[in-house]
């Protein structure tokens, strides 16, 4: 979305609503923001998987994946984990404050190609944020896709994001099966207990005409990829997103490269077939 030609000048957006997904020192907070200028609001379109540079004037910017699908409405949702200087400033924003947004950046999940296929999303911790737009998009265009399976786990039950939405997901029929997991036994927890990769083997999805997308901490992705291979998934059927430190978002500042690929331009969505040859991808 050009801004008088200068790609670095951000648009101003107002925080409409914000709520905490998880608490603690690495709290996760979700923001629903709307652009202040009308023509920016109209001209903006993003696809699931794309990210945006959001930030606070005077503090800085960081690249966060847009966790709302375009089918949900004319707003943007971001789920931000509190880690450094910018995310701390973002966490202090209350409804009515102003946030700077520029983008959308990066490629997107190739949902057009996936038409007619079954969709399997495997998320871990904050990894569910980039996957959420896929779930919403597939639910909105239910007829185009096969059945949708959502696997999502976190360390403890209050580390799970989008809890309220999962209750509703499990009931509605647009999602064929939804599995939640926590790492350790907890009283009052009825679903699976254990790591996400082991839950994946439990659920044992068939690789036939299925696309698997996984996001989460690097250690989880490593084992999920191994298990998916064990289940017979081909490299072209597996997709993941990479995270690297980004500053410009448009392939100029040079720091987000994983080997020859720029995560901000050639990614963040990659198929495992491409990532296999890049040794630095999982560094």
């Amino acid at each position: 979305m050009k801004n008088q030609g200068n790609p670095y000048i951000p648009h101003l957006a107002t925080v409409e609503d914000t709520w905490y997904e998880t608490y603690g020192d690495r709290a996760i907070k979700t923001f629903r923001v709307v652009f202040q200028e009308e023509e920016v609001k109209e001209a903006w379109e993003h696809k699931p998987g794309q990210c945006a540079m959001i930030g606070v004037l005077g503090v800085g910017e960081s690249m966060i994946s847009i966790s709302s699908s375009p089918t949900e409405g004319n707003f943007l949702r971001f789920s931000v984990m509190r880690m450094g200087k910018v995310t701390q400033a973002l966490h202090q924003l209350e409804p009515g404050d102003t946030m700077t947004v520029r983008g959308p950046y990066g490629n997107n999940f190739p949902l057009e190609e996936w038409k007619g296929k079954k969709i399997l999303t495997i998320g871990g911790g904050i990894g569910q944020a980039p996957l959420r737009p896929i779930v919403e998009y597939v639910r909105a265009n239910k007829s185009d896709y096969g059945d949708l399976t959502v696997l999502y786990g976190a360390r403890t039950s209050n580390d799970l994001c989008f809890k309220n939405e999962f209750d509703e997901l499990q009931k509605c029929q647009t999602v064929s099966s939804c599995h939640l997991s926590v790492d350790l036994e907890e009283e009052g927890w009825t679903h699976f207990v254990g790591f996400v990769p082991t839950m994946l083997m439990e659920v044992n999805p068939s690789p036939e005409n299925t696309i698997a997308i996984t996001c989460g901490p690097p250690i989880m992705i490593k084992f999920v990829l191994q298990n998916l291979k064990k289940l017979g998934f081909e490299d072209e059927q597996i997709y993941t997103t990479l995270e690297n430190r980004m500053k410009c978002g448009i392939g100029k500042c040079g720091r987000c490269n994983a080997g020859p690929l720029y995560v901000c331009k050639d990614g963040p969505v990659f198929s495992y077939a491409t990532l296999k040859e890049i040794p630095e991808a999982f560094a």
């Binding site: 030609g5 200068n6 790609p7 670095y8 000048i9 951000p10 101003l12 004037l57 005077g58 503090v59 800085g60 910017e61 960081s62 880690m83 450094g84 995310t87 102003t98 690097p218 995270e243 690297n244 430190r245 500053k247 410009c248 448009i250 392939g251 100029k252 500042c253 040079g254 720091r255 490269n257 994983a258 080997g259 020859p260 331009k265 040794p279 630095e280 560094a283």
Partner: protein, 340 residues
């Protein structure tokens, strides 16, 4: 093709005429190093280019400043105002390798989205190049399709004939510049041939070379090779080789606030620094100098080639000269070639 000759006596009137037409930048000696700075007529030291092999800090500083304000704002009212536009300017005394380097860096800043800051400065900057007649011991531009007299990227090429300079306009912008300083110039007769010999002689003086054709493929297979440990062992992880490299273009973006005024600015950054790739979570995909040195060499001789089909190095030799512990890129390339 307009060819002119400038006698060295009226060199200062030539400089003054240039400075009146456009904002003039030229290499001035500051301490032990030459640096491109805007010319001010009341300069104490007389401006001449004797004993100037090449500027220590490349002229990229004129089109890609070390610190550049992207926009200012008042933290209270969130109103963003970009900086004022810059004036037309001319760089005098640019070496041909630096001009070729600017062409290479243009690829990055024009790829897919235009970096308006860089491209605005680039369009308004005319390059008045000076051919080398006394190459530096570490120059190896001839091995990378460069030459002490190459005109790629230059508007005017100057060659030092001894007591006069031979000037040849390469682009029509160069022609306009030569016309605007007509008064101090004379018509050239056979100085053109003299200039060719000087350039030929200078090419012969280039002592160091490398055959770089097969380097990109070899680098692709040397990812886990122990040669990277041996090369990067002495490295200090400082930013000298990248800050002084004309084809390095990496930058960092930071916000600075002073009272209620703030600005977002960008400044040079180096892939050899640790926090260049440090994630906020503390994870660093390139934790030690070994990965960073490997990445720097791969970026210039492998990744850039895969994306733009050109090697991002012009053989100016600054990284060899300026490295505090003498890590020599030609030594690295020869080890890469021998490793397979």
């Amino acid at each position: 093709m307009t060819e002119k000759v400038l006698q060295k006596e009226n060199w200062s009137s030539f400089v003054q005429a240039l400075a009146d037409a456009r904002e003039l930048w030229l290499p001035v000696k500051e301490g032990p190093l030459h640096k491109f700075v805007p010319y001010s007529s009341e300069q104490e030291t007389p401006v001449d280019l004797e004993g100037y092999a090449n500027s220590s800090v490349p002229p990229k500083e004129a089109v890609f400043p070390q610190t550049e304000t992207m926009f200012r704002y008042q933290t209270g009212d969130q109103e963003i105002c970009p900086p004022e536009a810059i004036k037309e300017r001319v760089l005098l005394g640019v070496r041909p390798c630096d001009a070729r380097a600017m062409d290479l860096v243009d690829h990055v800043f024009q790829w897919d989205e235009d970096d308006t800051y860089y491209l605005d400065r680039r369009k308004k900057t005319a390059l008045l190049g000076l051919a080398c007649h006394e190459p530096f011991p570490n120059c190896f531009c001839t091995s990378l399709e460069g030459s002490p007299g190459s005109t790629q990227g230059l508007d005017v090429l100057m060659v030092d004939l001894g007591e006069s300079y031979y000037l040849r306009a390469v682009t029509d912008r160069g022609k306009k510049i030569l016309q605007s300083v007509e008064s101090s110039l004379e018509e050239a007769s056979e100085q053109g041939k003299q200039a060719e010999e000087i350039i030929k002689k200078a090419e012969g003086k280039i002592g160091r070379k490398v055959e770089a054709e097969d380097v990109p493929e070899k680098l692709a297979q040397l990812w886990e090779d122990p040669l990277w440990d041996r090369i990067s062992r002495a490295c200090l992880g400082c930013g000298t080789c990248t800050y002084l490299c004309p084809t390095c273009h990496c930058f960092d973006i930071q916000d600075e606030v002073e009272g209620y005024e703030g600005r977002r600015c960008r400044m040079w950054d180096s892939c050899m620094f640790g926090e260049y790739t440090l994630h906020a979570s503390g994870h660093n995909p390139r934790p030690s100098r070994r990965e960073r040195t490997r990445n720097r060499i791969n970026h210039k001789y492998h990744y850039f080639v895969r994306k733009f089909d050109k090697i991002a190095c012009v053989g100016c030799g600054r990284c060899i000269t300026s490295c505090p512990v003498n890590i020599d890129i030609l030594d690295i390339l020869s080890r890469v070639k021998e490793a397979l």
